[in-house]
Symmetry: D2
Subunit: 331 residues, 4 copies
């Protein structure tokens, strides 16, 4: 039974806490968040101790592992503290908003032999995982092209845009990790283009974009295209197509039901997509946590690493540079 403390009682901390509490091989010891109004009822409902100091939660002797779901600017400090204390860590993206600090964290974790898993939840979504497994099983031969379509249902609030670090660092980064996951080989070239066409005033104000495309190429010539938009009226659009030498694999979106409607105007119409990531990836969050717990319980390697977090960020930075310079960035 792995004893876990969850740091953060916001939207994502709530999901992780609930999943820890429901896991047969884990025990939720504590949830730590400075906001008592958030952490107290959550901890009570799940039978865990409510704390306000995340450092104190890490330091507890009755805690084996830490799940970090705090605001991004705390990730690096908490992660390093937990590693220093010998605790296993599952940490939400990103390690840190900056490359330099992220690299330092990776180096430190490596030096200390820390057990850290970055929470790239999409890798654990049933269909994405099945596609990766099919690729590894050779079902489609050598991968040639990966096409990732990823569009949010609507613009985030201005507060979010202000501090997000920009679309490449907060949205595209998930698709860049997916690209690495599906390509099975590191991208060495990145080019990107970016537009302000959903809300020009808002995005220009923060020197951000709302609609982007990225192209990646690996050393052996495998290619990946990513398209992103901050707003898709039909819901949260998350598709992947992997085209290989002997076949192709496609991942489709999820809807609330399987119902198809026929009228005088349309046939086979399905519903809009599940609206956003909490619904869309509910299974993925649970499976991700299960992978973390199971790896630790069975003494096996964690499925993702801080290096994965660093590499996704490096690709995002390269995309930003490509937009700025109009040049393909070579890594």
């Amino acid at each position: 039974m792995l004893r876990i403390a969850v740091l953060g009682a916001g939207r994502i901390g709530r999901i992780h806490s609930t999943n820890v509490a429901a896991h047969p091989n884990a025990k939720l010891i504590a949830i730590a968040d400075p906001v008592a109004a958030a952490v107290d009822p959550l901890a009570e409902a799940l039978g865990a101790e409510a704390m306000n100091d995340p450092i104190a939660a890490i330091d507890r002797d009755d805690v084996d592992a830490i799940v970090i779901g705090t605001p991004s600017d705390n990730h690096a400090d908490l992660l390093l503290h937990a590693v220093a204390k010998g605790k296993a860590v599952m940490c939400e993206k990103p390690i840190d908003a900056g490359m330099e600090r992220s690299q330092a964290v990776v180096d430190d974790v490596k030096a200390k032999g820390g057990k850290v898993m970055m929470a790239f939840n999409r890798r654990f979504e049933t269909s994405f995982a099945a596609i990766r497994k099919a690729i590894e099983a050779g079902e489609i031969g050598e991968v040639r092209q990966v096409i990732i379509s990823s569009r949010d249902p609507g613009l985030p609030p201005e507060d979010y845009v202000k501090s997000s670090g920009g679309i490449f660092r907060d949205m595209t980064i998930h698709d860049l990790d997916m690209a690495r996951f599906m390509l099975g080989e590191e991208p060495v070239e990145v080019s990107a283009t970016a537009s302000r066409i959903v809300d020009e005033a808002l995005t220009a104000k923060y020197d951000d974009y709302d609609t982007v495309m990225v192209t990646l190429k690996t050393a052996s010539g495998k290619q990946c295209h990513i398209n992103n938009c901050r707003e898709a009226v039909y819901g949260y659009d998350q598709r992947v197509e992997v085209f290989g030498a002997t076949g192709m694999l496609q991942h489709d979106n999820l809807r609330p039901t399987t119902v198809r409607r026929w009228t005088a105007d349309i046939t086979e119409a399905q519903e809009p997509l599940l609206n956003f990531f909490l619904q869309r990836y509910a299974q993925a969050y649970a499976s991700e946590l299960d992978a973390f717990i199971t790896a630790l319980v069975e003494g096996k390697p964690l499925p993702t690493s801080v290096e994965d977090g660093l590499k996704a960020l490096a690709l995002a930075e390269a995309a930003i540079e490509s937009v700025r310079t109009g040049q393909t960035v070579r890594l």
Copy 2:
């Protein structure tokens, strides 16, 4: 080069005439129809001779084969005359509205060794034909259940209803032939139910129905369900599912394009179905004629026979009796 005369210059005669004229191994010699206003422009456009007397067209020495597309009550007479003159015949359904006369025609054709193909055009539609071929190739093992959905886009005009012989004889009969085609074994039991729910006043006036279901069973236990309705707002609905011991085959409808629409309300919506049989089965009419011509040119057996026409009619009569008596009719 097979020399052909087409009898009838109405909707169906026009299709057959055009297909004969375009066929590389056939020559359209004449089109015969008592209505000069119909036959004259058609014949001129296709470079054939316009005639008003179908008997005279059959009797021509420069005609090898006859395509009968006249009103139904002339089918039997023209068919027998053509057989008597030694001409090959492709005849539209039905042989005749009555079982007795139909049986007599079948007997006569058999006695004279006539070459007659009943125009069950759906058997030649690409997808239906591919399903039959796959069944014969053993792709799904022994057939267990056949599900046929067949709904017209809208009620026919009252004049048609008045003289059609009823929904079982004019609409279900096509599906009964499809059932025989897919089952690969003769039905020996028929039960049916019938309702007046699209237009009760109209159908009751002519002692007819607008919405029916039929169940068939063969001696070995294979089953078939047919559902019909005179009106489907989304278009002309023609689907078949064949479920077997080792697999299943499904046939889908056709639409004008492959476009799928996504909006805030729907995803993957396709267009309404092609509206009616002339569009839906355009390819099937051409392939049917090609099968007729090719069989004659190559001296091979015709793909359907007058017996097929008789058997479909016998099943329709059994369905009518089942509705009347509330009993399963055994053939």
Copy 3:
């Protein structure tokens, strides 16, 4: 907080117990099953009391409601005992294998004003429920035809066939309830046909069938077709199509993932269907229990009744009689 005892610790009792334990407005007090080896670990894992006598569980003062998931021949006795004790009941199908006893139970429950919900779980499956809701909202106008395809992934073991009461009473009965749910009007005519084509030796031995079709008609002329087969190689096939005056609604199957495969031989291939009802209806079981608990907590009518159980059984009996006599049975 509704205090619940679950009777039965077998496959279905386990599902209900787990769902009760996870429900925010319910408390799982006890699980009762004569087989200690089944009930003890389940009760321990869920933090409930393990009991061996279901009557004693019903009699507990700290229990408000009973969920019956025992073998079918105990349903009636336990249900009546619970009603006599004033406990609300959610009972698995059937009330009883026989019509007479079932009718007596319905009468008794009615006389005592018992709160009993029959566990027709499929009505609570998201997509089926959405279709019913769309019908009620008038999305497709008056219902004309309902097509229900329902095929099991494989033959049940001989022991099950021996005591199941036959395919109509143990398998078709679920589809007969679905037919009532979708038609929104009671069937008044039933006809059926039945075959032994999956395993003739086995089914003949127990005077049973493995492949059947049923046709229902309501007083206003609405029609319903049901097809069943004990074995479908591609998985547990559960589809419903509801065709109405102004549109059509279709329900599709579920698969483990949304992945589509393309190779040199096929395109857009999906996986086989979820194998059987425990996986396929996992969500439906939880939603069904939630509907039970929520109705009781909020003092609203239960969504299904013992009458629903009786009526589905009456339709199954009528189908059996129709197969025996070759006649349409009028109710």
Copy 4:
């Protein structure tokens, strides 16, 4: 009745000749090709005059319009000669392999007021045309992103690769025209990446590529992604997705039938795609010719122009430059 001469009796000349001969408002006067063995039987079968000199065919007084389907290096000369003679022209792509000559042709046609339509057949394919029409009707609001997937079924023969001008000029060019058609606004930025992963030896030998991606951006920020590969084992893959402010439109591939297969391993599997462009675009070739003839007969503007040919080529050249320099090319 428009009197037409077709230049070229190869694969594409044969299609155009057959379509002209079948068109109700056109008369096929002559087919010209230096290879008598190609032109003689084709002309005879279609009732046209066989000629060996295309210039002589253009010069005929009984010819109003010219369809050019000769090898690419003759296009410019024949086109200009026809324009000089006052004949309307439908010309296969490209105008010429080089930008300079192409520009000169465009200038000359403009100066002479020539009526020239470039044969961008895909614009006339039913579904692509319906998507364009829906965009123009405002169905999806402002276009934001266009995703074009376009993969050939297999590598062309070495002879073709040798003289094709490279994948961007002979394959991507069709998608670049489709991009312009769907974007409804000229691209002003082009970036591209290219790999040799299907047959490195072959493509390196001719300094060509077999797998490419292109990104386009218009002045207002609309984006387009194109992916190409010379080999897709599942058939000729031609898809377009247009994502807009209020909706999305998708175009799907065509297969020989609508049959879906279910077995123990797969469900809903469709057939491989139609193998190549002659089958895939049969309807598009006929509709394109119809658009040409109808515009001339009705005195309306031709639907495409030599400028369209020049612009698609300019985009291809920009893509090539982008691959060479690793920079986004601004037009």
